[in-house]
């Protein structure tokens, strides 16, 4: 997921972990991953399913921070 990394490069408040769900099944199940890609924001205050355009991901991040 290059998009998430692009956000991390642009804004130093953002950090990104790409996690291989098969390698870390326990972590994936802790975050209720049922399909990939899944983007979990701040350990669960928001979740984005699927590959989405950058504007959509950004909107979800702002919405999670300021519901």
């Amino acid at each position: 997921m290059v998009l998430a990394h692009q956000l991390a490069i642009e804004n130093s408040n953002i950090n990104v972990e790409i996690i291989e769900a098969n390698d870390f099944y326990d972590v994936a199940s802790r975050y209720n991953v049922r399909s990939v890609p899944q983007t979990t924001i701040n350990d669960g205050i928001g979740v984005v399913l699927g590959a989405v355009p950058e504007s959509h991901l950004l909107k979800e991040i702002f919405h999670a921070l300021h519901p």
Partner: protein, 149 residues
């Protein structure tokens, strides 16, 4: 000689991308662990092959269990774990970019592109997205779960 992970065609493609697009040096820190780790060895070999394609890429390897302070500094808890760092005036530049697990399949190309972006110190995002991102003042952690296919 051990078998290569990358075939000649991929090697040539990636080398050409690196030759044309890498700008500044990039440090790749790889973490393994002591207990059995199914994909650690393959990941390390893959990274070695990638790093050998450009003199701007530097690979260092550590063991999570033997280097707990370094692992904590970079907030790496899983192995294989990767940290992709830039350089600015000789100092490491941490954008907060981590990979956990072997970057194979689609994530291989994701890793290559991320290395290039870090090397160029440029997100490549559209101007309006960059503008929107300026409003983001709070710490955000994104965990992106993927599979190789």
């Amino acid at each position: 000689m051990a078998d290569k992970v990358l075939n000649e065609e991929i090697n040539a493609q990636v080398k050409e991308m690196f030759d044309h697009q890498l700008l500044h040096h990039v440090e790749i820190i790889y973490f393994s662990k002591r207990e059995p780790c199914e994909t650690c060895e393959d990941t390390y070999q893959l990274l070695g092959e990638i790093a050998s394609l450009s003199e701007k890429l530097h690979l260092s390897a550590y063991n999570l269990d033997e280097n707990p302070q370094l692992a904590e500094l970079y907030n790496v808890k899983l192995a294989p774990g990767l940290v992709i760092l830039g350089y600015e005036s000789g100092d490491l530049l941490d954008y907060g970019i981590r990979f956990s697990g072997i970057p194979s399949g689609y994530e291989f190309s994701s890793l290559i592109h991320t290395i290039i972006l870090v090397s160029r110190r440029d997100s490549g995002l559209q101007p309006e997205i960059r503008e929107d991102l300026k409003r983001l003042m709070y710490p955000v952690n994104l965990k992106v779960f993927v599979t190789p296919t």
